[in-house]
């Protein structure tokens, strides 16, 4: 059934599919791990049970999201070899070690302490448990560091030599490879995106519960915390995104040309095209709504600065303009909507109506998944904008694929699509169900057992909180053994 389709195209669709699905989970768990660490830290510092309740409420959700991230991530670590073996052979000496460092310094750290974080509070005590939570949060950060370094190297490769056998070989300095020109910008922009994604999910869940009961203290607390994050971080993100864009203009000009829809060069100031329909046949943006010279102002900080267009790039080195143009606009549009909601929340605070403004709550609920859309749109912008290269200007995607037949790649793609939608669809449903449960005092943690008074004990209810309760008994029995 796949005989008439190109194996390369199928491999590209497969990678786009598996990496997009995977990216959703870390984009959430990076931020959520930090939020959990903050909640537990506040609980230890203030002793207020509301923080512990919120910690447990979100810990259950984290457990599912993390499991989905782990299993979809294992797939990614093998996708390079299964579908892109020529790329793996040639780029392995440079990017392989960075990915090995990710495993050694991040994956083991996260996985090693996750068990204690989920199930161990009664076994190790509060402080060690907090340390485990911190380790998991730090692990997610380190993981982002390495994998974004790898990705950035593929965008802006530096610090390598070419081997006689066609391999990219490391040069004198690993720092030149790791800290390649686009890496600092990409790291900051992506990490902030992960935090914003989580903030809007937490804010949306808080809003949902406020709409049902505006007096719910737990919902108020999470809504307030999330919207502080949105109000403070959204502007920072727009600034960071602008810096990242200027960096891209310097190192990958044709990506920015595609983002801007600049088919033609503009020697005396380029317009900012707000909307329009890029037509790569006619090499122009149809029905363009544009603001004269604004693009030059944003990218060059000078109204009359010349900007080159795609007419300066050979046709076979142009990225697909339509996808990049649109995904970029979706990302930026959501970014400004996030900023808007953040500002609105400040106004609501100032007027004392943060918990009593249903329209604001509805808006926050509607924007709950916006971070995921923005993150994926941004990712598509940067990855599709790198095409037709897998390693920018040095190796074409078309030359990177494994020597596989189309039926093999097509069948595995079909299997991934079916399995991911059913398995991760179920997981998403479970997460939504947990989110819809009203957060309350005495939250239970990650449950491990059948229903019943003894087996429903959560991770914490410790002796100090529920003295003599049923939950403490099994623990004592276990310790006695």
């Amino acid at each position: 059934m796949f005989d008439n389709v190109d194996a390369l195209l199928l491999a590209r669709i497969q990678f786009a599919f598996t990496v997009s699905f995977h990216f959703i989970f870390p984009a959430f768990s990076i931020g959520l791990a930090s939020y959990l660490a903050v909640l537990e830290g506040l609980w230890l510092k203030t002793g207020k049970p509301i923080y512990l309740d919120l910690f447990k409420f979100w810990l259950k959700i984290f457990a599912i999201a993390f499991a989905m991230g782990v299993v979809s991530g294992i797939v990614m670590s093998y996708q390079f070899g299964t579908n892109w073996s020529v790329f793996s052979d040639r780029a392995g000496p440079v990017i392989g070690p960075l990915m090995a460092y990710e495993v050694l310094t991040a994956f083991f750290l996260e996985a090693g302490f996750l068990g204690v974080m989920l199930f161990g509070m009664n076994k190790v005590g509060k402080k060690l448990h907090f340390a485990a939570t911190l380790m998991v949060a730090v692990g997610t950060f380190i993981s982002a560091f390495w994998i974004l370094s790898v990705n950035s190297w593929m965008q802006t490769p530096t610090g390598f030599e070419m081997g006689a056998n066609g391999q990219f070989l490391p040069g004198d300095s690993w720092a030149a490879i790791i800290f390649n020109p686009s890496f600092p910008y990409r790291l900051v922009h992506t990490l902030i995106a992960a935090y914003l994604t989580t903030a809007f999910v937490v804010g949306g869940v808080g809003a949902w519960h406020l709409l049902r009961d505006k007096a719910n203290l737990h919902a108020r607390k999470m809504f307030s915390m999330a919207l502080w994050m949105a109000a403070i971080v959204a502007p920072v993100q727009i600034f960071a995104g602008d810096m990242h864009g200027i960096n891209t203009l310097e190192h990958q000009p044709q990506k920015v040309m595609a983002m801007e829809g600049h088919y033609q060069s503009h020697p005396e100031g380029a317009p900012l095209i707000l909307f329009g329909i890029p037509d790569s046949e006619e090499k122009r943006v149809k029905y363009a709504v544009e603001i004269p010279k604004l693009s030059s102002l944003i990218l060059k900080h000078d109204l009359n600065a010349p900007l080159a267009g795609l007419d300066t790039i050979p046709d076979d080195e142009e990225p697909p303009v339509g996808i990049v143009f649109w995904s970029f606009r979706i990302m930026v549009g959501i970014g400004f909507a996030m900023l808007g909601l953040g500002m609105w929340s400040l106004l609501a605070r100032w007027r004392g109506k943060l918990y009593d403004w249903p329209l604001l709550h509805r808006a926050a609920l509607a924007m709950a998944p916006s971070g995921f859309v923005a993150v994926l749109a941004g990712w598509i912008t940067t990855e599709v904008g790198r095409q037709p290269f897998v390693i920018y200007n040095l190796m074409r995607t078309a030359d990177a694929a494994s020597p596989l037949d189309a039926p093999a790649v097509g069948a595995s793609l079909l299997a991934f699509v079916v399995v991911y939608f059913s398995v991760f669809g179920a997981g998403t449903w479970y997460i939504l169900r947990l989110m819809s449960q009203t957060p309350h005092s005495g939250e239970t943690g990650v449950k491990r057992g059948d229903t019943g008074p003894i087996r429903t004990a959560g991770i914490t209810p410790g002796p100090t909180q529920n003295p003599g309760s049923a939950e403490t008994l099994p623990r004592n029995r276990e310790e006695a053994e």
């Binding site: 499991a67 989905m68 782990v70 299993v71 294992i74 797939v75 670590s77 093998y78 390079f80 070899g81 299964t82 073996s85 020529v86 793996s88 052979d89 392995g92 000496p93 440079v94 392989g96 070690p97 990915m99 090995a100 990710e102 495993v103 050694l104 310094t105 994956f107 083991f108 996985a111 302490f113 068990g115 199930f119 161990g120 509070m121 076994k123 391999q167 070989l169 490391p170 690993w174 494994s402 596989l404 595995s412 399995v419 398995v423 179920a426 997981g427 479970y430 947990l434 943690g445 990650v446 449950k447 491990r448 057992g449 059948d450 087996r455 959560g458 991770i459 099994p474 623990r475 276990e478």
Partner: protein, 335 residues
Amino acid sequence: MAVNVDLTTVWAFIIAFAVFAYVVMDGFDLGIGILFPTFDVGPERDRAMNSIAPVWDGNETWLVLGGGGLFAAFPLAYAVILPATYPLIIAMLLGLVFRGVAFEYRWRDPGHRRLWDAAFTGGSIVAAMAQGMTLGALLQGIEVVDRGYAGSWLDWLTPYTLLTGVGTVAGYALLGAAWLVWKLDGPSQEHSRKLAKRAAWATFVLMGAVSLYNLLLNVEYAQRWLSAPEIYYAVPIPILTAVIAVMLLRALSVERHSKPFWLALALFFLGMAGLGVTMWPYVVPPDITIWDAAAPERSQVFMLIGVAITMPLIIGYTAWAYWVFRGKVGHEGYH
């Protein structure tokens, strides 16, 4: 060049260590998945699951290290083996997806717990089978032309690879049952001991069959095992394996704690050593040696620094995580 030879050998041992760590650690939790349908629905299944819930994620990380490490240290081997065993790798990954999410989902959705239990078992069997068959496909040789896989896409499917696949399923079941003997008590422990004995016999038979098949598979393999001087360090392996096998069967009749598990581990270690004797110095038989596939010295040195610093820490906190959840699993599970 002398330095490079040493580093490449060191890296071959590091990858072998990662693979071994993966096989024994994820081996026992995949094994529990394989045996899961034989446990009673209810507390027995819950306890079996709880005995590995806090550690499975760390166990699977060794697979990422094995794959990622191979990519980094022997990129050519990674680039050849994965396309050659493509359907097996995809099947393994999808199997791991199903069993991985089952850990969380079965608790979240009691109405569909049977479904997720089946996913846990099915995923575990598929993953174990695919891993064993991948090993078989590697041992039977992979056709390479011009740094790329040159065979067809069903070369991996032979009676030999089916044998290695079934052998791996049996071996993992042994590890899983031995783990449960250690972690459970009462009737569940008795049940696990019975399972462990059967799995042990299956493992011995299949291990022996694979070993003999290896001698017929490739003249070079037979030479390495049957000619001097290799034979002097090869011969102790089967002898020790037989000794361990007898000790394991005896331990399974009387022991109530960890001894069968450690002996099963020793059995796997000897299997790994035998594999080393068979393959050395090839990473992709019959053409690619570890030196052909090795990353350049700069990559090897850079990663070796990382391994030297992080591996003791990883082993330390992994051991701590196991220590936290030591002892028999309670009926109420971990909290």
